[in-house]
């Protein structure tokens, strides 16, 4: 039981930190532009595919450095020549634009790379068990993923709160007019943050690609979960996004690892139903089965009872 718990915790943390890399960019972009970027997970997918192609010729490490840069540049271009143009037509148009962009990126990936799953491998250098606990191995690559994500988290925290650039960004989020009057180029700051946010998503794709498989549906799989996190955490709140990422990561990991379900609950209550009962599906449901539903259930509950999210302040 203990070993299941420890490994579920470790895996949950790996997923949680990975989710945070996506959620942090998304929530920063939201607080700047007031728009949720539907295509954010698509940039994550682009990161994985670029890194895969680069790794074929130059190895994994080149991909790790250059794929996020390419993705970030693409993101900045999208902001400059797409989103900024649509901004005049209002928020709904912006949301719909990013939705269309997500659609287009998925189709483009199928066009350039094909529909099949890509054989994107972890580097040989990290292909060993980091430690063995209760006879179960924890791979070094997962440790590496966690190290990178924690590193990004610390760097992001430091840049945003301590550095001059971070302070200007924070000011530009709340008082764009004043910052502009002080002589800073606010549109350029926005473009830069959009670029960095998408680059972070790309980096998440690079390191997640080998573990979570690189295929054209990978953006859809993660995309809506990242949305859920950003909303549960509170729109625009980085700390909230961090808590929610870990919460969702651990929640899913525990749900999958556990083996309890409705039958256990019913036998605890001393009720039993025969197999022919019309709600048989409900009475035989177990936790791993409903693990994929849990984040959405949490989302709907949070939106009903606390629409601002855990740490959100923004009230519409």
């Amino acid at each position: 039981m203990l070993e299941v718990f420890i490994f579920a915790t470790l895996n949950g943390l790996v997923t949680g930190f990975l989710l945070f890399m996506l959620a942090s960019g998304l929530t920063l972009i939201f607080s700047m532009m007031g728009v949720l970027n539907f295509a954010h997970a698509s940039f994550y997918m682009l990161g994985a595919y670029f890194a895969y192609s680069l790794s074929l010729y130059f190895g994994f490490w080149t991909g790790l450095i250059f794929a996020p840069l390419i993705v970030g540049t693409l993101g900045a271009l999208v902001e400059r020549y797409g989103l900024r143009k649509v901004h005049a037509s209002g928020h709904v148009a912006e949301l719909v634009f990013t939705f269309g962009l997500a659609f287009l990126i998925e189709e483009s990936i199928q066009f350039f790379w094909g529909r099949d799953t890509k054989n994107y491998q972890t580097p040989d250098l990290l292909d060993f068990p980091l430690f063995t606990l209760f006879g179960q191995e924890f791979s070094a690559y997962r440790g590496f993923m966690m190290a990178i994500s924690i590193g990004i988290f610390i760097a992001l925290y430091y840049v945003l709160t301590k550095s001059r650039v971070g302070i200007i960004i924070q000011a530009a989020i709340t008082h764009p007019q004043t910052v502009s009057n002080l002589g800073h180029n606010v549109p350029l700051i926005f473009m830069g943050v959009f670029g960095v946010g998408t680059a972070l998503a790309g980096l998440a794709g690079v390191i997640a690609g080998p573990v979570l498989t690189t295929f054209p549906g990978m953006a859809t799989v993660l995309g809506s979960i990242v949305f859920v996190i950003v909303i549960i955490g509170g729109l625009g709140s980085l700390a909230g996004a961090f808590i929610a990422s870990l919460l969702i990561g651990l929640l899913q990991s525990y749900a999958i690892a556990s083996d309890v379900g409705m039958p256990d609950l019913l036998s605890l209550l001393g009720i039993s139903f025969d197999r022919g009962h019309p709600l048989n599906d409900l009475w035989t449901m177990n936790l791993p089965q409903i693990a994929p539903v849990l984040p959405y259930l949490l989302l709907v509950l949070v939106l009903i009872f606390r629409p601002t999210g855990l740490l959100g302040k923004r009230e519409e």
Binding site: G100, F111, S224, P292, E316
Partner: protein, 411 residues
């Protein structure tokens, strides 16, 4: 009497068009496309009720379509096993009622806010229902879905609905009724208030309306019509799967309504017709049609924020002033190179994707392996792009003059 006839002439024309189309296009493929169109029109209009008229951006509208469809297939099964016997003509009504019930239940908490909060609740509910449809397999049939048979019910004047054409007439009549009622809804105080709440909820509150209640009414009505569309889907295909209530279907209806033009009643109809045609016809020619659809959608959002219908309505002023002929020539001058550019772009995309030795395109046999082909097409595309850029200013000037206020009106 004459006034009523004049007012309803467009509806009579619509009904004649709906019922007359299968006489013009009577191949099996055409009938199946017409069936899809009738379903798509109802579905897209119900979506427009939400987003275009009520200002609620939903990413989970397929839920009501799918739930209505699932219950309709269950109703078909009931008829088949003679648990209940009624004509299948009423199936869309059952779908609609279930869509309404789902709308009342979900709308009771999701319509509290519009904007991003509503959009996210709809996304969450959509994902929740799509994911749980795979868990509750006795109702949803798991990944395979459920299927029924529409031929078991009592016949209607001798028709047993085995043929697609018979179902088309059922769908056409239902589509007509649904469209008429959705239009009438926009004329009711509830429909008018929906517009007011969309534009300025605060003001609506000040004149004594609860913006939440107004949203709730639109939401329920929209759920009902989506359920009717789902019922028509069930009748047409006789099966339904999880795919019909997941995010992909929700996304498609958003595409339809947006490309057609939000805010105009006719917009979603145009979008539904165009997208269904693209879906059925273009997919025969190219496996990349979804890519083109994505490009078209982004271009629409960027350059025609009010959709095709908005583009047509833009010319109203010039039309009223009798200045349309001033625009024809500049349109042709810009349009021809623009079309040429689009054709070249498609050729380049297809050539880089094809694996054949020779690629047949518009009567030309192109050789994708030779660099000469690429250079020639790129040169034509470049020339066309330059021509569009050059002539665009003229078009703009012509547009300004055509829409300018005439001199005598100014004084």
């Amino acid at each position: 009497m004459m006034a009523l006839l004049k007012k309803s002439s467009i509806w009579i024309a619509f009904l004649i068009a709906l019922l007359g189309l299968p006489l013009l296009f009577d191949s099996i493929l055409a009938i199946s496309i017409l069936n899809q169109m009738a379903i798509a029109i109802v579905f897209a209009l119900s979506y427009n009720m939400l987003l275009g008229q009520g200002g609620m951006l939903s990413f989970g509208h397929a839920v009501y379509f799918g739930l209505g469809g699932f219950l309709s297939v269950h109703a078909l099964m009931l008829i088949e096993y003679e648990t209940m016997v009624f004509s299948i003509l009423w199936i869309p009504l059952i779908g609609g009622l279930f869509g309404l019930l789902a709308g009342i239940f979900i709308g009771s908490f999701s319509t509290r806010k519009a904007g991003t909060v509503f959009a996210m609740i709809s996304l969450g509910i959509g994902e929740l229902i799509a994911a749980s449809s795979l868990i509750f397999s006795s109702f949803f049939g798991g990944e395979a879905g459920i299927s029924g048979d529409r031929t078991f019910g009592p016949t209607f004047f001798g028709f047993d609905f085995a043929q697609n054409i018979e179902i088309y007439y059922v769908a056409a009549v239902w589509a007509f009724i649904a469209t008429l009622f959705m239009w009438l809804f926009t004329q009711t105080p509830a429909g008018r208030m929906a517009n007011a709440v969309r534009d300025n909820p605060e003001r609506a509150e000040f004149i004594g309306y609860s913006s939440r209640k107004v949203r709730f009414i639109s939401f329920c009505a929209s759920g009902m019509f989506a359920g009717i569309a789902g019922g028509l889907f069930a009748l047409n295909y006789e099966f339904i799967t999880e795919e019909n209530l997941n995010a992909a279907t929700s996304g498609r209806v958003l595409l339809m309504a947006y490309i057609g033009g939000l805010g105009y009643f006719i917009g979603p109809i145009i979008g539904a017709v165009v997208l269904t045609l693209m879906n059925s016809l273009l997919s025969n020619y190219s496996e990349l049609w979804m890519l083109y659809l994505g490009i078209m959608f982004l271009l629409t959002v960027m350059f025609l924020p009010r959709g095709f219908a908005g583009f047509i309505m833009m010319h109203q002023l010039a039309w009223v002033r009798g200045n349309m002929k001033m625009l024809i020539k500049p349109y042709i001058i810009t349009g021809i190179p623009a079309l040429l550019f689009a054709l070249c772009a498609i050729a380049l995309i297809e050539m880089s994707h094809t694996e054949d030795e020779v690629f047949h395109y518009l009567g030309f046999a192109l050789n994708p392996a030779s660099p000469v082909t690429w250079i020639v097409i790129l040169a034509i595309a470049g020339g066309a792009f330059y021509a569009v850029k050059r002539s665009f200013n003229q078009l703009n000037d012509a547009w300004e003059t055509a829409n300018a206020i005439p001199k005598e009106e100014e004084s």
